[in-house]
Amino acid sequence: MALTKAEMAEHLFDQLGLNKREAKEIVEMFFEEIRTALERGEQVKLSGFGNFDLREKKERPGRNPKTGEEIPITARRVVTFRPGQKLKSRVEAYAGTHR
């Protein structure tokens, strides 16, 4: 089971005692604000968690995997995520206990 916005709102309700509507709204807005910032071309840095960076990709040759036809992949701006040190080490600990 994957973690979803509904479950995050439930967590805020349990942990912080926000009412369900407030909890749902703040979770919704949390992702909306991040998305809006990125859409405006702003980098987003969430200390302890990670950074959402924007990268400009130049046009490059591509191929339609179905037909094999050559078509250029147009220049575009993409979002990349660089996990922070704290998140990285917490995740690495998972490997330690499960392998």
């Binding site: 089971m1 994957a2 973690l3 979803t4 916005k5 995050m8 967590h11 805020l12 942990q15 912080l16 926000l18 407030e22 909890a23 709204e25 703040i26 979770v27 807005m29 949390f30 992702f31 604000e33 991040i34 998305r35 910032a37 990125l38 859409e39 405006r40 071309g41 702003e42 980098q43 987003v44 840095k45 969430l46 200390s47 302890g48 968690f49 990670g50 959402f52 924007l54 400009e56 220049a75 575009r76 701006r77 993409v78 979002v79 990349t80 995520f81 996990p83 704290k86 998140l87 990285k88 917490r90 995740v91 690495e92 600990a93 998972y94 490997a95 499960h98 392998r99």
Partner: protein, 104 residues
């Protein structure tokens, strides 16, 4: 935008929750997300994207100081895949030609 700027924007754009509550909420959301990934659980946010773990196989590395070869064990690393709305929203701005801004 930094974490504190995000908190300020969230506090400013709604009326129910005072600043300190918004701050606790942001902290709790990020902690819950970290916890999910740390226990191998995926995160799925429609329109925004999904977070999952990618396995990095064991490899031989080198201590840059001593030049000594060291065996690095396999590990998991967090991975983010932007959702359709985010991917398209961010790319539309390329066409509009807005410059990238570095966060202060």
């Amino acid at each position: 935008m930094t974490r504190s700027e995000l908190i300020a924007r969230l506090a400013g754009s709604q009326e129910h929750l005072p600043g300190p509550d918004v701050e606790s909420a942001v902290k709790a959301i990020l902690e819950r997300m970290t916890e999910a990934l740390a226990s191998g659980e995926r995160i799925e946010i429609r329109g925004f994207g999904s977070f999952s773990l990618h396995y990095r196989p064991p490899r031989l590395g080198r201590n840059p100081k001593s030049g000594e070869t060291v065996a690095l064990p396999g590990r998991y690393a967090p991975h983010f895949k932007p959702g359709k709305a985010l991917r398209e929203g961010v790319d539309l701005e390329t066409i509009a030609g807005l410059p990238l801004m570095e966060s202060a």
